[in-house]
Each structure stands twice: as C-alpha cells, then as structure tokens.
Symmetry: C3
Subunit: 467 residues, 3 copies
C-alpha cells in the first residue's frame, strides 16, 4: 500500500535524484527533540490500550476533522470535563465511525501518517474502510497485547536515538527517573515547559505558583525567590536530561523591564486581578528572564508563538484544553523580539529556536532574523504546516535567506507515538525532493546535496539541541 | 486554438493522470451558486447587444487593465454618472482599442477566458489582433442576433443545471418571477445580498431603509421592525429559490451586542451622523443577526470580506461603483468571527461559507477554522485569485488542514455570462492537475482522486448550497 | 562548473521551451536602472583592491551569513566606526575564513552569484574550498591588476548598456562629471535618493538640511525654500542623467497636508525634538511632495518601503549602517498610498514604481494596485527576494492580476559590481522558466512568450525608467 517513491517529485529526473538522496538518509536514527509523548509509556512499558484509545481519542488532528463534519466529541468517546466516569462508548464503535469517515482525511498529512502506521507497523494490507474496520480493530488490538508492540519494543523498532518529552516545572519527572534507573538503554529526556508558571492567563496560574514554591522550598510570593525557584526547576530538569526549554506564548513579545518594574508586575499578576495587557507584559519579561537563565545553564530556548488557544469557547468550557480548537493568528517577530535581541542577540552562548504558525513570517521576518543573529535558529514547519506542502513551503521561503545551517532539522512535535517514524520519513522525503529539485535545476551539486540531506535528517538537530 | 491539455501540468506522468481525471468531470453539468449575471437576460430572452456591450464594457477585469495602461474609461464607452446620454462612442471602435491592447492580458485569466469564449462559443479560428478585430466584431455581432445565441439557448448549451444571481433586498425579483412562471426549464435562483440595508456606509443607506419599510409594510425606524422586515425579505427571496445570503462587508467583524445596545446603535446609524467605527460595529452585529435568521430559515451565509471598495476616489466620484478600483486589504478572521462563533459555532443547522482576498489567511486562519468548526466551510479562490495560480494556491495551502470536504466546490462569481463555461472548465482542469500531482507523488490513490474530482466539480457545491 | 541549463525547470518539455526562450534573451545588453555601485570606479578606472575588499567586505549578503554562524565582523576585517585605522586583518586570512565557510551559502542566491563570478569572470575551474582558497585569492588578486579587469573594461565586457548609481542630494556628483567629461562611452547615470534630507530620523538630518542650504544657496530653515532646494537638486541630478528618484522609507505612508500644516511640521522636525509619529508624518508628506515635483520634472519615483533598518542595536552602535541587520517588516500599501493616489493616481505623466520586502502584498495589494492605477508599476523581486524562488513567486503571484506590462523588468540593486551579469542572467533564466511553464501548460503561445521574454529582459525597463 505504501509506494516506495511516495512524496517524491514526479518529474523523472528529479525523482531519480531524490531517490538517491533518500536512500542515504532513510535509515538514519530518529532524533525527536521536541514532542509530547507520555514518558509513563517508556517507564512502565505496559501494553497500549485499544486501537481507539491509542490512535483516535488523543489525536486532535483526527477528532477536529471529524468534529468539523458534525460528529460530536461524545460520539468519539471524549468526555466532558468532570464526567469522565459517566461516558461509556464502545471503542470499537468509535473506530467504525472513524473508518466510515476516513475519506475526510484525503489530502491531509494525517491520512499519510495513518496509512504508514497501518501498513508499516501493523502490516494491514488493505485500505481502512467501513468494510475493513472490524478487521483493522481486531488485528491492531491483538498486536498491541504482544511483546513486540510494547512501548520500548516499538521505540527500538523505530530506531529512535533520542526522544524528548515535554513537562511542566511542577512535574516530578518520576517516569524519567524510572527510565534513568532502569537497565533499558532508550534515551528519553524531558523538556522544560514553564508556561503554567510564567503565563498569568494559564489555568490555575496562582495555584501553580504555590505548588512551585512548595516543590522548591522558595517563597514564590517574592519575585526574586520566584526566579530562584525557576532556576532550581531548570537545574532539576537538566539533571533529567533536558537540553531545552519550550515557550508556547500567544505572541513572540519580549521586553526588558527594570527589576522594580518586574517586581511590581509580578506582584500584580500573582496576587490580584490584572489586564490582558499586563499578562502579556509579564510573559514578555519572562521570555527575557528565561534567556538570562539560558545564558547561565545552557538550555536551548524554543519559542512557539501564535496560537489562539481554545478558540471554541463552548468546547473549552465543556471539554477543556487541547480539543482541536487552537487557531493560528498573525504573528510578528521583528519588533516583538527586539528587546530580547537588544540585550542578548549577539551572545555566543545563547541559542533560541523560533517556530511559527504564520507562514507569512518565513521569508519576511524569520529567515532574515535567523540569517543574521547568531543566537537565532529557525525551527521546522510546525503543527498545521507539518505536512508535505507545508514542509516544502518553509524550504522554498527560508533557505535562500537563512541557508540550511541556521535551521535545526526536524521536530515531530507529536503525542501520537506511533506516527513518529512516518513523520520523520515524510520530512526526509520532502527534504530530499526539495534538494533534488535544486540539483535538477543545477542550483546545487549532487555531492553537496548528499551532505545537506544528512545534515537535515540527523546532524543539525543534534547540534541545535546540544544532544 | 484551445489545446486539449491546456492548464494541465506539463510533467508527462502527471499530465496523463490529470487527463484521465479531467475526462471524468469535463462534461458534468455546471452549477453556479454565486454570481452576478442579470436575470432579465433569462426572463426576457432577448438578443445580447453588440460584442463590446456584452464582453468589454461590463467587465471590470478588462477595463481596469486597459485603464492601468492609460486608456480612459470614456474611450471605452463607459460614461460618467449622470452623463450616460451624453457619451457616444462607436462600440466597434472600442472593440478595436481592446483588440490592439490584447497583449496586455497575456498571463492573466481574462485572456484564457476570452480565448475560450472566442474559440468555443463563437468559433473564431484566429487570435484576436488589430488585424482580426473587425472580423471578430462583425462575426460575433451577427451571431448574437441568432436564435442559438439567445440567453436561454446559451444557458442550455453551457449545460447549466443551476445559476444563482444576486439581488438587493429591495429588488422585486420580477425577472425571477417571469422565469418561474415561464415554461422554460432553466433554473435561475436569486441570492439575498442585504448590504444596501445592513451597511450604514452603503450609498443611500437611509433611503434604502425607507424603501425596505414601504416594501414590507414595516416601520423601519424601529429596530425590531427593521429585523422583521429583513426576515420578510429573506422569506420572499427564499420563495424565489434563494438558498443563500451574501455579505460583502469590508471586514469579517462580528459582535454580540445586547438588544438595547443594538437598538441604540441602529437608531444612531439610521437617523444621524455616525463614525466609521459605529458603522463597522453595526455591520458586525448584523452578521450575527443574519446568522440568527439563517438558523431559522436555513439560508446558507456567505461572507466575502476584505475589499477596499471604490479606492480610486476620482473614478468613484465620476463613474460610480464597480469600476475596477476595489483593492484587497489585509483581512483577519480568527478574532473577527469569534463573537459569532461563540454564539453559533457548534450549531448543527447553520452553514457559513468564508471567502477571502487575503491569501495569507488560507493556511493560517481559514483552513484551521473550517477544519474545526461544524458551521464553517471554505469557499473557492475568489476574484483576483480566481485564476490558475490562485486556484492552485488555495488547494496547496488549505486542503492539508481543512480537507476537501470542508470546501464547497467552485463559484464563478461573474457578471460575464459567456465566461461561465470557461471559468468552470479552468477550475476543473486545475483541480484535476492538483489531484494528479497527489496521485503522481503517491499521496492519493487514483480511485480516490476520481471521487474527489467529481465531488469538487459537482457534489460539494450542491451539498454546501443546499441545491 | 556552470551548467548551461542552470535555473531552468527540470521537466524536459518545459526545459526545452525555456532553453529556446533563454537563447533569445541571454545576450541582450544589461540595463541596470537601480543599484549602488560606486561611480568613482568608472570615473577613475583604477584597479579594484584585493579579492576580499572587492567581494566580501562590502557585501552584506555575505557577512551577515558568516555573522549568523558566530564569525565576528572584526574577523572579517570590518572595523568599528572610528577605529578604521586600528584594525589590521590580513585580507587573505579573511578570504580563507570565507572559503572554509562556503558551505553556509548552499541554497542561497549568493552562492549562485559567487559561483558565476568565479567561473565566468575569473575562470576558476574548481569549487571554492579550504583547499582552493589560496589559489582563488592569488589568481583573482593577480587578475584584478590587469587591464581587462579595470572597472570600465568589465563594464564593457558585461555588455552594460546603462548603469544607474544612487546618490544623496548632498552629493556633488563629481564622479559622474568625470565620466560625462571623459571620452569613455559607458553610460553611468545617477539616481536622486533624498532620504538624508527627507527623513527626520536619518542620521544627521538637521546638519544635512544646512548642507542642502549651502549647496543650493537657499535658506532651508524655510519650508518653501527647502522645497525649492530639493527642486534645484533634482534638476542638478537630472542634468547628470538621473531619470528616477528613490525613496527608502520605513513605510509606504503618504499624506496630503495643507501648506500651513506642512510648514508647521517642517519647523518642528527641522528645529526641535519630534516624535516618531511626526517623523512618519513628515516623510509621508514628502512622498506626496516628491510626486508633485515628479509631475513637473518627469523623474520616475521608486518607493522601497518596509525595512526595519539597523535592527541589531549593538552592531549599529559599533559598526554603523548597512551591516546586514536590516530586517523586513509587514508593509501595507492600500491605505498608505491612498492620499497620494487620491491626488495624483490618474495623472498621465506620473510614474511610481513600488517595491516590497513583504511578499504578502504581491497578490493582495500590489498587483491589484498596479493593475488599476495608471501611475503605478510593480518593481521586481527585491533584496531578500532577489533569488530563484523569490523571482518565481513574484511572477506567480502578480502577473495574473497586474499583467506583464505593469511591471518594469529587472533591477539588480547591488553594490557588488561583479555580480551584475550573474544577477541579470538569473532573472532572465527564471523568467524564461516561468514563461516556459505557461507555454507547456498551454496558457501562452510560444510566439507570444518570445515577445514577453524580450520585454522582461530589455524593453520594459527602458520604458519604465524613461531610458
């Protein structure tokens, strides 16, 4: 079902070149420096549940598409907050709904990932349809109970050299402890994602500050001790393998407030009501503070701005976060990052990786910034743009200005563990196709293209994330 | 003159696939759910005037290009407002000006549409040039007087299954009555376009409210009766076949005002001076009101924002509206639509089709919105973007996130009746080329591509517009 | 090393057509109507210095990329302001640094330009690498001292029909005088770039006004005499061959102030502190004033907005302007230009060429504006977008709306004299590739494509710049 030339350009000259390039990178180990898999899987190494629970319910790419066509979340077994116990949906019935709507995914990357998972991982010979839905379910369900489909077995089968998860500063990283203490050789590291204690508009922000205080033994009603507590948690994360932080702010805004201004602002947002502008200002200052700390501890910063989170207020109120209703918004970088860049833009020992959901920033802002500032690198196509066309656009719109060496290879950014091989494979194929076009148009020598293909698939990510 | 493979990709593998796909859809009936042809043509079925009056004078795509190169509107026989009687230009002379400037249209969709009209409809064997201008004119002029070129004959020859026109709520729809009462089988329906009575900045807004009142017997100085009058006109339009409304606001702004706020605002904009912000707020509230009414009467909403109308103030003052000087502006959807979506975004019985002139919204805003909200669908490439490159961009930038099934097929949106077959043909060819690339790159199975091609050419539009 | 088919599409059908088109335009003379070469080169006709001084130190495309990867400007022999005498770096060592980092330029237009310069101009048979660095340096260094590599010899060898430089109104144009008075036939004209005396935020603005006064004998503390002084300098530039002005404002903003408002604003910005908004307003008014003067003297206006100049404050303070840290910002045209267009948009004798660093404006704003207003033309892909992908995007995103005839051919906009042939060659190849695709997709007749290719390479630029 999977064609060996899938995702390669159709022009025969270009395809031949692309095939050669791809043959050199297809078996390179996977490095996944940014993602959202559950470390408990690798700590406990228990069988995954059923096909629905593994492949559908947690994947917002899938359920948002079904939802857009009138299928309710309840039908898919997703429970309203507080009613988890009350909902009972047969997972096999959910699977059948999914199968009978599989045509909705035509033309989407989800479809390509899923076909890859079904064919490569579960060895299903036929297309998923209403007719094959039951066979699919039963077959996958049975395989998941076998030794070969335990999380660690799959990790090894996927040839993953390193996998990063993402945790809140309030997380005790106990699963990472288990992994580190085990005799399993798989490398699973954490990433420091401090939004819950940096963003005054995050649910439970004030309570989170208290927890941060009690975890670290600091008085987080004091700004200086709050910063100290953050430093502590960074050190704790670093001890658990973290080489990077991740910041999912609504915008890329940064500022350079004085200490007294910062303190006053912290007091406001941590103890009383505050305006949206004050929250934004605090987040902006905290990005600069995080850069200060990164200069000390060497953690690479990742800035992922530009999502209007939880846009569907009814779904958010009923079902909570991450229900497929995060919608990108226009995102500005040039003015937003200037305060941080004014302070640290030329530091040799700082590294910040920028992502965007606003593709208009690629050629206009991000490539020129990454092509100049020593501290800036450009992340891969992200989220909605982690797709064949999206990956091609980011190459076409940034490489001419930023070059390849100011980019950081591929991130899969996924919760869907089984899709990791297919996502990295897609990236390698699209990159080889892009390079093949440069070669076919005599814009790059084939020998150099081989080097670049390997850099993009393997070396750049190790360098950028200090792995 | 028309190559059978025109607009298909040049790579031989891809072209073969595209040809096969196209052969399956090229003869499907045309459904034109959104356009601006004159219903009087089909009511009266009188011969069109002369070639100039049919093909040049009413087509702002054509005269704006000639104007941009220094040819005055007067030279083209377009009269200043109030001086219609005073201008006398030989239509054949206008035709010769057009012919001698035909090179200006190289690379534009107008050129492709015109070549198609000339070759397919009028059977002209040679290119339009200064030398062939007179022959063209005489030949077309003669044909237009024949039975086969009467509006209804062409409608049938074009294989149009349904054609929607667009009318103001103040229109009496008498032409639609004539068509409905005739024994002609052609389906020509209307569309409810209430801008003249919803937009306080529309020319004659206050007078329009009075007319609305007298047509409906409502006191349109009262907000509640104004809404009632709108409901009445919607019912009247629905009785004349309308299945949709159309809203050409400057922005996509919506709000959710209280009744008392709405009333106060209505009183302001309908009786006294008001600010641009108040006009914008009123339009925003009226979009929400239209959604409320659509929930009741089932009319599909179309929102077409983002045109800075009548940008050329000299032309507007002299010649009036629609003189080729409507220029797109940046258009935001995510925040703009939120108030309406907060209220109605999850309604199973509401359908809103979004259009844009700002292509940056495709991948950033519109595809994610349409790929999540049940009430939202994404319209086709519109106006300036209704072109080979524009159509390809909308597919490349939206399908991966929204899928095909959250789109609505093709709209020709034209006043140029004769161009309808060529516009639909262009759309089918570009879509088949896009699908062929997916097949050639093994991103879609050919069998599925056939299904999608038919959906895009025929089924989706019927579903989306409830036809 | 240079493949004869480089930059042409790889599909064989399209490549054949592209080759034919290119063979017709490749040897056309170069017209370079907008650039930043040093007229002293052609006045004095002295040998260029060494390879580093010629090819690296002055080229911000090159040193910004090296800088982005941690190489300091000092290492490259670029001196902090005021310390020019204090820095001593071996130019051959700089060359070696450059050579050992040549891989950074893979995929960038700089790489293609440099390879072209090395192969075509200096006849170097091998790739520049660490190993060949010394040979490269010595060979180029030796050639630069020969008669054939003097500026005028290269000008002739490059087949340059006309080259425009860009000067401040305060420049005495003495080099142009020397050229005009010489018996050399090369045409080198100037361009009037008044930013230093129009932009209150330009370094030394107030001092510049004084100099403008003393040069012209006008009292530039008076607004009317200030305008008179500008008129004088325009006449002086015109007498030195200028046919155009160039305006590098941060935005495209224009306004139409009354005389008294303009006077008051001028008094403010020329004598006291002023806000950023006042500076912007003054620049906006001055664009309108420049248009007024262009109506009189016929100089073509060029508006190049949208660069956030000197974004890296540390580099700017230490090294001054033009150190690779100008970053594009979002740029709006539709509302910004309206005041100027309201006043002059329909003038038959005014011509304004618009450029952008914000590609989102191509299809949304610039093509619709240029496709309507008689005074507007669309400039070529500029700066970061002067690249194979950038050139292709501007064609794909503007021609369908603006047509070819509202564009102005190619500008190289370069300080790097030796790169001029390669830049024009790139443009011709990409345009021929674009046209070839139109032909291969039967969207344009081959005969018409030949005409358009020649227009784009030669005729349009002469018409647009009145050369």
């Amino acid at each position: 079902m999977l064609h060996p030339d899938r995702l390669l350009p159709s022009d025969p000259t270009t395809r031949d070149i692309a095939r050669n390039l791809y043959s050199r990178v297809k078996n390179l180990p996977i490095i996944s420096p940014h993602g959202h898999t559950d470390p408990a899987w690798f700590a406990d190494n228990q069988p995954f549940g059923n096909p629905t629970e593994l492949l559908i319910t947690p994947d917002h790419y899938i359920f948002r598409m079904l939802y857009s066509q009138g299928i309710s979340l309840e039908q898919l077994g997703i429970s309203p907050v507080g009613k988890e116990a009350g909902v009972s949906v047969d997972p096999k019935e959910v699977w059948r709904i999914f199968a009978s709507n599989y045509h909705l995914f035509r033309g989407t990357p989800s479809r390509l990932w899923l076909d890859h998972v079904f064919a490569e991982i579960f060895d299903m010979p036929d297309l998923l349809t209403t007719d094959t839905a039951n066979d699919y379910y039963d077959n996958i369900d049975a395989l998941l109970q076998t030794q070969d489909f335990l999380p660690r077995s799959l990790f090894e089968r996927f040839n993953i050299e390193l996998l990063a998860t993402t945790e809140s500063p309030l997380d005790d990283l106990k699963h990472h402890d288990v992994i580190l203490d085990s005799d399993w050789q798989g490398r699973v590291v954490t990433t420091f994602r401090p939004d819950p204690v940096l963003d005054p508009q995050f649910e439970g922000f004030k309570a989170n500050l208290s927890i941060l205080g009690s975890i670290t033994g600091k008085d987080t009603t004091s700004y200086s001790q709050y910063l100290e507590a953050l430093r502590d948690r960074r050190a704790f994360f670093k001890a658990h393998g973290a080489t990077a932080t991740d910041h999912g702010h609504p915008t890329a805004c940064t500022v350079n407030l004085s200490l007294s201004e910062s303190e006053a602002l912290f007091n406001k947002v941590s103890t009383s009501d505050f305006s949206a502008a004050e929250a934004e200002l605090f987040r902006a200052q905290m990005l600069t503070e995080m850069a200060t700390m990164s200069l000390d501890d060497g953690l690479v910063m990742q800035i992922h701005p530009g999502s209007h989170r939880n846009h569907n207020s009814h779904l958010f109120e009923t079902f909570g976060r991450d229900k497929g209703a995060d919608i990108p918004i226009q995102t500005e970088y040039v003015r937003a990052l200037k305060p941080l860049l004014d302070r640290y833009g030329n530091e040799p020992n700082l590294s910040i990786i920028l992502f965007t959901l606003d593709e208009t920033a690629y050629s206009r802002e991000l490539a020129p910034l990454a092509g100049h500032y020593p501290i800036l690198k450009l992340g891969p196509a992200w989220w909605f743009h982690d797709s064949p066309e999206g990956m091609r656009r980011i190459r076409e719109q940034t490489i001419e200005t930023a070059g390849f060496y100011n980019t950081v290879g591929f991130n899969d950014d996924t919760r869907a563990f089984l899709s990791i091989p297919s996502r990295h494979d897609m990236s390698r194929r699209i990159d080889c196709g892009f390079l093949a076009r440069l070669v076919a148009e005599h814009r790059m020598d084939e020998k150099e293209a081989f080097e670049v293909a390997e850099m993009l698939a393997y070396d750049l990510v190790k360098q950028a994330y200090k792995l």
